[in-house]
Symmetry: C2
Subunit: 347 residues, 2 copies
């Protein structure tokens, strides 16, 4: 029997029209009700690990917009945090970690406590799933997520964000065995973590590979495709009915190979990707998700309508999930999001 939720139908290869819609960072600072809850938490990590608060912010955009998916409110760096690497979020600066640059840093990671430490996040998944509307429109599915090992390693090695992640790429070239060991630890942790999210109620999972595009093609195959295939394969053995969305940001020409070689059920596309060309690179009708420019949503009005309409025209008839190409920016007026949802629902 087909799953009645529109998002899950689309992710498993069925063209649902109008397409299901959710938006990356739909729970976030652009919403006044998010800022109110955020103010109650000591810091960002406390927000992610306090189930009542994380559940509340996860549900806020669903109440406002009745989107087709809720996505767990959390952060891709909760895996290194759960492995014991220090992590702090500084206002306006982003994440800060003690840089991991050598074998002793890798040896210090402790996977044995991973599931204990993420227990509050799994509790959030349970609470959100219990509360989500199952009926009406196409239902609201719950998406769990993690960062891809390569992208998570980027932050771990640099000790935070970076323009080009040169230290990470230097380790990948200069200490390939050590870097592979780090990615293997992260891949195993990611499988455990996502599997636990699924057990707790996540109906689909997404792997964010925000920095996949900084690699040469050979390194992309080794670090992005190989580890993603491993994760998708193991999740498929454990949870054959749960679709996996991969988001290899800035993969460019390699997006077709990524789709084919990793086995993901759906591919998230970034803002710059031409959807007609992306379809032509897919060897099967793998679901695609994307890719409105968040700045077009910030601008609103005709700019938003022209860009969104062009996406809808390109994707009619294909298994598709409407989304942004990158996260909502904090200055976005919530009313513009409502207008976008209405436009997509009328497609």
């Amino acid at each position: 029997m087909d799953n009645p939720k529109h998002l899950l139908r689309a992710l498993t290869g069925i063209s649902v029209w109008p397409p299901p819609i959710w938006l990356m960072r739909q729970a976030g600072r652009y919403l006044p009700e998010y800022r109110a809850v955020r103010a109650k938490a000591k810091d960002f990590i406390a927000l992610c690990t306090t189930p009542e608060l994380a559940t509340e912010v996860t549900l806020q955009p669903i109440r406002r917009y009745r989107l087709d998916a809720a996505i767990l409110f959390s952060d891709i760096l909760m895996v290194p945090w759960a492995l014991g690497q220090g992590l702090a979020f500084r206002e306006g600066e982003g994440p800060v970690l003690p840089p991991l640059r050598d074998a002793s840093g890798v040896a210090a990671l402790d996977p044995s406590r991973l599931l204990d430490r993420v227990a509050p996040i799994l509790e959030t998944v349970r609470q959100v799933r219990q509360t989500l509307p199952e009926e009406g429109l196409g239902g609201t599915a719950l998406i769990g997520f993690a960062g891809s090992p390569f992208t998570v390693a980027c932050y771990m090695v640099e000790g935070g964000g970076s323009r080009d992640f040169a230290a990470t790429r230097s380790m990948a070239f200069g200490s390939p065995a050590l870097f592979a060991q780090l990615l293997d630890i992260l891949a195993d942790a990611t499988v455990s973590y996502l599997s636990a999210q699924i057990d707790a109620g996540a109906e689909a999972v997404m792997l964010f590979d925000s920095w996949a595009g900084v690699l040469s093609p050979g390194q992309f195959r080794t670090h992005v495709v190989r580890t993603t295939r491993r994760i998708v394969g193991e999740l498929g053995r454990r949870h054959p009915a749960v679709p996996v969305i991969g988001f290899p940001r800035l993969a460019g020409l390699l997006v077709g190979e990524y789709a084919r070689a990793t086995g993901v059920h759906a591919v998230g596309l970034d803002t710059g990707t031409d959807l007609v060309l992306a379809k032509s690179l897919m060897q099967s009708r793998v679901a695609l998700q994307g890719n409105l420019d968040p700045i077009a949503l910030l601008a609103g009005g005709s700019a938003m309508r022209i860009e969104a309409t062009s996406i809808l025209e390109a994707m009619r008839g294909w298994p598709f999930v409407f989304n942004l190409g990158h996260g909502i920016v904090p200055q976005t007026p919530p009313a513009y999001v409502a207008e976008l949802v209405e436009l997509v629902r009328a497609a």
Copy 2:
């Protein structure tokens, strides 16, 4: 008669093998002799506008490595500087300009003094061309350059570098007529500037569009393809024998359309681009240039050799110029560059 210089032969569609080689930022901080000259100049702008110093640093990598091309030592922001927008380079911070956010900022740009202000840069072009070895190996060609209007506008609107150039993209969506006016002013200035470089001795020119990849496909067509086609067309009317290299960094799937629709003679490819796929997207045998990961060069040894060899294997038989996918990083040992040149010469 065929031009005897290898670089110019490759740029005009002939497969020269071993391929000509030059490297983005080949004149730069990784060279001790560059740092010595840099110390003599008051600031970076003084270095770019003092012909004796700029000529010297342009020639330094040619003396060391006997590369197939010298590229004028300058900066893509010398055009806004010559249009009268303030510009400073702060150590470790990159360029700083007063942000241009409205019609008064556009109106304040003064194209009438452009060629006067860049006169010292044109003098550098003349001095370099007089000194370059014309003979031996395949000769050394002189490449002039400018930033593409979109990328230059990014820095002008933001007031410097940015991770995502949100203010620029907001202006493009929210004030399309004003943004188009800015790009038109920059396109005209770029034609004048590059044309003057050619008159002074540049034998090929390159348009750096470092931030082309932040745009949605529709905006890419409007701001990158349209303005580049206009520049290439006008340069072609004035200087039909001079090849233009376009470098639409992170254009991803749109690189084929960029090549076809702009009329550039050669396309520079960034680090992440798979060369075999890029060739398959070209409708004609347009020359390609790229794309060794600068971090592989920084790592040196087998990492560099594996990556460089894979590029050479992919491009044999195609009109090709060996280069990096992004600029040399300052920590690169000069000896590694020598080893790379030797490897390419032995292909």
